[in-house]
Subunit: 141 residues, 4 copies
Amino acid sequence: MGKFKFFIPLRVRFAETDAQGHVFFGHYLTYFDEALTQYQHAIGFTYQDFLDAGVDFFYIHAECDYKSRAFFEQVLNVHARVGNIGNSSVTFEFAIHKEHDDEWVATGKIVAVVIDPQTKKPVRVPEMFREAVAKFEIQNS
Amino acid sequence: MGKFKFFIPLRVRFAETDAQGHVFFGHYLTYFDEALTQYQHAIGFTYQDFLDAGVDFFYIHAECDYKSRAFFEQVLNVHARVGNIGNSSVTFEFAIHKEHDDEWVATGKIVAVVIDPQTKKPVRVPEMFREAVAKFEIQNS
Amino acid sequence: MGKFKFFIPLRVRFAETDAQGHVFFGHYLTYFDEALTQYQHAIGFTYQDFLDAGVDFFYIHAECDYKSRAFFEQVLNVHARVGNIGNSSVTFEFAIHKEHDDEWVATGKIVAVVIDPQTKKPVRVPEMFREAVAKFEIQNS
Amino acid sequence: MGKFKFFIPLRVRFAETDAQGHVFFGHYLTYFDEALTQYQHAIGFTYQDFLDAGVDFFYIHAECDYKSRAFFEQVLNVHARVGNIGNSSVTFEFAIHKEHDDEWVATGKIVAVVIDPQTKKPVRVPEMFREAVAKFEIQNS
């Protein structure tokens, strides 16, 4: 998966397990989403900053590859990075492994389009975001 | 529990089960909420009607008593009725049993306060709602 | 997307919306999962049938493309079909549009591996499943 | 509410908000459940310890009073304590306020019955649990 410079630890909640005894597959997207939010903090932004700058994010694609199982109370280190920035889209990449264990539990991505909240139409990814990502990735490389 | 004049059938989704093999206890509030929504339809309203009438609902209390367990794919008949209407509050009552089985799986209630969406302050329960509830309960008794 | 011979209608629950006002992106996987379950019924199986036959499903991949937004109470027709059957894997394909509207809201897929519940190792997709899929797709084409 | 000796901080996830812009009311039960789990750790137990001791918990009642609203990314301090221990039941009490703010957002309780996982019948609350609760509450008072 290459290197990630950021992760958040999340402890699996009982609510997130299913009758197979492990985490329900859909919840990994919530884990990714939470890591994406915290990644934006790490590079200097809040969600409100984007709204204040007149942009919002719509997700146009999400995917997850499930490689092993995670169970109640296990701590998952959910890694996030920006993989690519296009004109109006940003691809976030994710990879999860358990605390004290470097085997990947799941990997995936979310592709977001930056939109104008009024028109809901795509707009160019703000320079402030491009610069913050570049700075964060270099500083931490 | 007395009589209910309205119910909706809901099939338990795999996402709603947990590692104990049955429905996660928190999801019963979602079932109640969905029955509340459909009850309002049954008496002649959509959520948009309330917004258009300048009111919204905030829930101030919810509770559930769990009497037996429900499993993946079982069909739950979620009954709803209005138990009480105060000046600004409405108490909705719920009871769930499985299809083809009259044993209660869960019972509970949600107390909602009618608010002004602008001020978020309580306002009087609209007459249109009071009348619709009264008419529905009489017509169906 | 080609043709689907099966769908289930699902009404968007308030619990499934988020602060952007529409369905939270992760819940589409739950919608797919529910359609997958009902598709298996349509071709003649219950989840218990698979367990009884000594096999279970683990999901190894899921993805979703989001094409438009869905809102509280809108009815989504969630289409499902089997796109491919490998030695031990089955690819389910999904596409969602709103009732009375043929614009796709979301499309996606889930790749499942058939496993032995004891060993958690992949096993060959049962013949009964292959035949049932073939029969269903021909009968309904 | 009296005093609590234990809390966990939980940051509101976007997945937990709804179209009213705040946390969906049902998710508070998940917050309570997560605090209950961590409270058991604080007094010296894991969920596995209970299973190993031949007991499990079924919830028979849950309730929540909603006092104000919580929003995306706000940190909620979810307090937990044992309010009462009966023969086979334990009442857990909860209260939530926001970080840096002592106004209660929600309060509630969960009543659990200790059961034999084989028979699913109530059994006496284990002495080890009674003693651990007593010790924790005294040590921290």
